[in-house]
Amino acid sequence: MSDESPGQVPLSQVITARVKSLSGDMVVQIAELAEAGIVTWELRRDSCGSPRARHWDPVPWSELSEQGELSRTRLMGFIRRLDRSGLLLVYTDKRSPTVRLARDMAMAITGAPPAFVPGGRFEELLGQILAAEPITQWYELVTLRQSASGRLVFTGVSLFPPGARRGDRTSFSVRCEPGDEYGTVFAVTALEAKGRARLLSVQSAKLTAGRYDLTAELRRPGLVRFDGLPARLNPERRPWTALVASVPAERHPLHPSHLICAVEISGTDAQVRDRLDRVDQLIKTAARGTEQRLSVSLVTYGPHPVHWNSAEEPVRVLTWARSGAEALEQLWRLEGHPAAIGYPRAAQLECVLTEIAERLTGQDGRPVVVTVGARPPFPPRVDPATEIIPCPARNDWRRALHLLMDHPGIAFGAITDRDPAGGIWTSLGTDAAAQVSAFDARRFAARLGLLSPNIPFPLTGIDASGAAGRPGPAATRAEKDSTTRFVEEVVGIGPASFVEDIHDLGFPGVSRLERELLIPGQGSPSAPDALAPVMAPLRTVAGDIRIPPPPRLLKSDVLVSIYLSDTDLHKQVQAAVEEVLKRVGLEVYRREDPLAGSWFRRMIAGPTAAGTNGLAGPPDAGGPSREATSRQVIANLGPLLNGLSAERDAVVRLGSVLIVKTNGLVSINQLTPRQEDLLNLRPDLTAAPAEILIALRLLPYEEMDDADSPFGDGD
């Protein structure tokens, strides 16, 4: 790589010195006079402190020539367009007359001779120089450790300090627990001295559980290679926020679980047999995965009869909170029994959920309700959408499901004969959903928290037996807390500088992590626990009212909230809200207690049995779309606007329709999903008329003419 010329500093040293001097946004520019033309190079440090080079396509000599001759004027113009103060000139071809002429002209222009690159491979020379550069930030491997309280917290293994160079190696040990289908994540971060951290690389490998003695080698600034893994590391494609969110709260969080399997025994004999088989698989898998800390209930159900005087086959509780073995014994007895017959379009889902809700005490472990079947439930009363006859006992699946949802930690799984097209089966499969024909018992059980949770990052501070021990040397350094800070920043507590590196930030002010964790069913069952430190500050105070986080909703639910500055008229406004809902086929079926201060009340509405449209129309099992419901609500706001006429300030949310009244001015808005997410994240806004308009970028009607769309950028 020598570029020696008598009396000159070697080119590599010149470039090295320039690279060392780079900081912040500084740039070194180099013009390479090559056979094809002039190649412009730019050197700068990336956000992790690693020196990076990039170049542009050569500007051909013909563009710098006039009448076939290299033009001094044009060459001068080209060179002066570059930063002359920091410009380095090199040439890589001694034989080309054009290059030689350009070299001479450049020397005359700049007063300094361009340096020759021996061998003519400037890119290779640059690569060697940059790879040999020492790193300027701490490199760490993101790991987890078990705190004294048993919780998993982020920490890191120090790999290389600032000043480390290519070829430096460091050895350390980690323990890997079973990862998910993507494997265990090896993420390397670079930390600035002031504590800001950025991801350097994120890879993953499918590993078996155990201890791994690893060696990290610094290949060049920004590139760390791990030796000692039995599997190849592949680029990780999941967003960082999802990876963080997938970390369970504890390493061994498995509390006793109560698995309740409700099996539909209507349909063909083959269908029933397949369902029983899947339940068999699930119970066996869960029994193994929970180390026998499992109690199992088995309930069967079929259809109601069509005629009142036909025999009713009721919901049968075959076993309740007994061992897996006892449940399996009962299950096997069902095999060979003929499938139940009766009304063919529905099954007693509403009755089985009611039965479970009545029996469930929570004393037998964390409830896990798994429903296996195909048919929809009987409605509590005439249902114009499906025209399925009502449940004779008038049981309401939605009410029963909400009663069940009140049990802390409850999880819902659904195994269906076919892809559920919305409705109850989507709600029943909130935490795990599978089809009979493609059932992975282990994966299904894991999603329900019936197996030891996946731990997506390596663990440190775990002894050879897998027990939590003293943290190893690599994790004891006080600086390691910086990694914890880094992760916390990503989670959203701090300034979250790293978040800038994640694309698709979405709504301003809402990190992707926050948004993802707000969407039910996307995170693992442990996601809420992982989010606990984030959610805690969200239980915010709006004025004199403390607004709790929103409740868990079914897919068909509409969240309703009313905030009034004047408490005297709350009955009138609430009645008006319920009238509007009634007009669009919704009814409030759950009301939270009003919050005193001003007046705030949150309610949940769902489709009425009469549906959204009383006129004769086609059966529509899927219900109206979110858009259609919003349009209907807006078209029927009359009673509510009358009810609010005497209010000075108010915020009424009817699903994705928001009515805000501030200082007597009314604003009616259809919220985008992102805006709804923000309200779920910041429930305090629904009791803050002035703030909500700013936070959602909404304006009262009166200001709309001269303003941007009050509905934001849309989706």
Partner: protein, 318 residues
Amino acid sequence: MPPSRAAASQSLTLWGPPSTGKTTFLAALSVALIRRGPVWRVVGESEDSARRLIELTTALTDAREFPQATAGIGHYRWTLHGRVKRRVKRRRWFGSRQQDEDVNVSLDLVDPQGGLVSSSWSDRTAQGDLIANLESSSGILFLFDPIREFERGDAFEHTFGVLEQLAQRAKNRPGKRLPHYVAICVTKFDEVRVIATAEKLGLLSYDTEPPGFPKVADEDARELFAELCNVSRNGNAELVLPLLEQHFQPDRIKYFVTSAIGFYVDPRKGRFDPDDYQNRVQPNPASPEARIRGAIYPINVVEPVLWLSRQVSSDRAR
């Protein structure tokens, strides 16, 4: 007042687009007359007709099945025997008085097969029979099935064709409308979507007598008919009402909201339950096959027949 000795003869035609429930209506009429008491009864004019009537009726009551729309049903003959009150004039200044009159009402059930502009000989013959039948009738029971209209939307096409041919035959009455009395029956009141529409329009009231069925007053029936026409599949049903009123004299038209099977009543409760009233159940939504869930309670099935009979009798008395 003793009835007049010679029973007057009338003929009523049960008319409607194909598969609008005419056969079920007839079967339900038999049950409704039994429920109503001894004054009226329906009998078959021949052994075959009597047997067919028994089959239709027991299908509804025992098998809880809807009778099949039978091809050739027009070959059977049924007659309603009953008694109506007729106003008769007294001599000179004594005004008029009510007098019971025995009547025999011939019921013709015409079920047109094929299109009314068909070129086939058999179809043209059937159409000719239909038109001739209507022309000679004293009164017409026109059945409008809102569910079929929503799903198929062929009421206007059928009605228009028949009425145009009927009007063409009556062209010796220039400028005048057809002379028939017409009872327009909006059927399937027991269907969820029909009753929901009536409720939304505020047209529902409830019988005070058990089992407390909902009802639509006859004076509101036209409004419900008009509203249901508006949700026709092809949008042409809204023309049916003006078409009928254009061809028949408005004071000779009366609207009824009817149900052949009525609402489901849980025998253990014995009362209409607004949360559970579906008497027609469709095991497979993709198949038109349906069954009857409980006992049948025909609604407004006898009333249009009696109204027509009274109108015809009164006309004759003038």
